[in-house]
Homo-oligomer: 248 residues x 2
DNA sequence: ATCCGTTATTGATGCATGTCAAAACCGTAC
DNA sequence: GTACGGTTTTGACATGCATCAATAACGGAT
């Protein structure tokens, strides 16, 4: 409940990971208390982006990873012809830009879905630091491998599951990510448009819309615009596993 | 042209990345000459697996990454109910296990598609070494981010492209990977069964088969079993971009 | 060489989802 | 408040691919 914001008196104008309420979700997770100071040294905190603004652009020089403090970010790849493919949604405490680590240019474009504040980790400093702090390096590997795994899960969802299953999975994913931040896991507002959901899940907008109303008619959710309430989480979980059962 | 195999007299029975013909594809790519020795120290070379044998299993303790020397490996995730999802194919010079870096257990199962030899990189030693060699660390980040990107590309392929486009893309991918090894890019034998292709691309086996024969009738490829010849690479490339053009 | 299990091909049919079209809704600016 | 562009919903229709079913080709073992 209580948000456990420790007031830490050092350098009030400067970045402070210590007093960030997300510190246990973000990079510092695996880092020792005294190492945290060194991470703070390289972080540029508090940049703010308005809805629709680009945090970075595909094919421009890769300089930094960004941790979301508040708001939400979507990443997408624009193919040669201008087709957009949404590759992910990032909520507070999550790190954007890992798919570009070790590359010269950003592999995707990131833009704010709503008013969003971020912390910036310049990659040169970050690599230097991970070379010195084995725990931090290990954590970076962990985050990156998580992203690979997540991507595989997504591919699996896209290739084997129905529209209902994909949407149920997304809703549950968002739910648990809200819960991690001590917010309601059953009552939240979607940061992204139906269009983005459709694109991300490889569906047509119309299909997304239809599934939403179907779920609503079944009493599983209640949705008005971006405002969503999960009325029957169990049912949603069943939907995601439905597919599995059938083939047994 | 010439394969530039330098005979390096040190420790003939021990691992030697120096004299591996894949060294410019594998980990050492970005590593200084003198750093290569230190990498050699941690590598366990020459383990051999027969077709069907497991290199490692999902949910068992993560100990090592493996570089393919010869043969081919497929990785897959087994979901709770036993459904298999193929997540990747790995050819000589490619590194398997990156999706488990920083985790306690392997995130997927890897098995040999044919008789396969690998080099093993114990992860504890590897992390220790990347902490000391910034170039190697950078290279690891690069490889991992490549895998994220590849995974996104796959998701894109699965969510937006037709069966023909997916299969054309796979054939071209394999082609370029054979070419990297200075082998024919137009005449090769598929290391995997139709079943694996179907699973990987999110299609039914029958569909894969049908597309193969359709391509054959169009004179784009010539296939007998796993033996494949790409007769018209341009046409294949057109197929993969076909989708893009339509929506312009 | 022959047999048998696995893998691959081919055909017929049904369904989920894309596409096209239009109406309803929403937020924003004037 | 009203008017507008963009988003969301709903409906009718078309189609690509999965599914079921059967045959054919392959490959390893005897």
């Amino acid at each position: 409940m209580a948000q456990a914001i420790r007031l830490h008196q050092a350098s009030p104008l400067k970045a402070s990971c210590h007093q960030c309420s997300l510190s246990n979700l973000c990079l510092p997770l695996a880092v020792e208390e005294n190492d945290l100071d060194r991470l703070e040294d390289i972080v540029q905190q508090g940049r703010i982006f308005n809805r629709g603004e680009h945090i970075f652009d595909q094919s421009t020089p890769f300089r930094s990873c960004f941790a979301v403090k508040s708001g939400a970010i979507k990443t997408s790849i624009i193919s040669e012809n201008g087709e957009e493919q949404v590759t992910g949604f990032f909520m507070p405490g999550e790190l954007v830009g890992l798919d570009s680590m070790g590359s010269k240019n950003y592999a995707c474009t990131a833009r704010a879905l709503e008013r969003t504040s971020v912390c910036e980790f310049p990659v040169d400093k970050l690599e230097e630091l991970t070379g010195k702090l084995p725990d931090l390096q290990h954590h970076m590997y962990h985050l990156m491998s998580q992203e690979i795994q997540g991507s595989h899960q997504l591919a699996m969802l896209l290739s084997k599951n129905t529209a209902e299953e994909r949407i149920a999975a997304l809703l549950l994913s968002l739910s648990s990510r809200f819960q991690r931040r001590r917010m309601s896991g059953t009552n939240f507002s979607l940061p992204m448009a139906r269009n983005d959901i459709a694109n991300f899940l490889g569906l047509a907008v119309e299909t997304v819309s239809r599934v939403f109303t179907r779920f609503q008619n079944q009493g599983i959710i209640s949705a008005r615009g971006r405002e969503v309430e999960l009325l029957d989480v169990e049912a949603l979980q069943t939907v995601t596993r439905e597919f599995s059962r059938q083939n047994t």
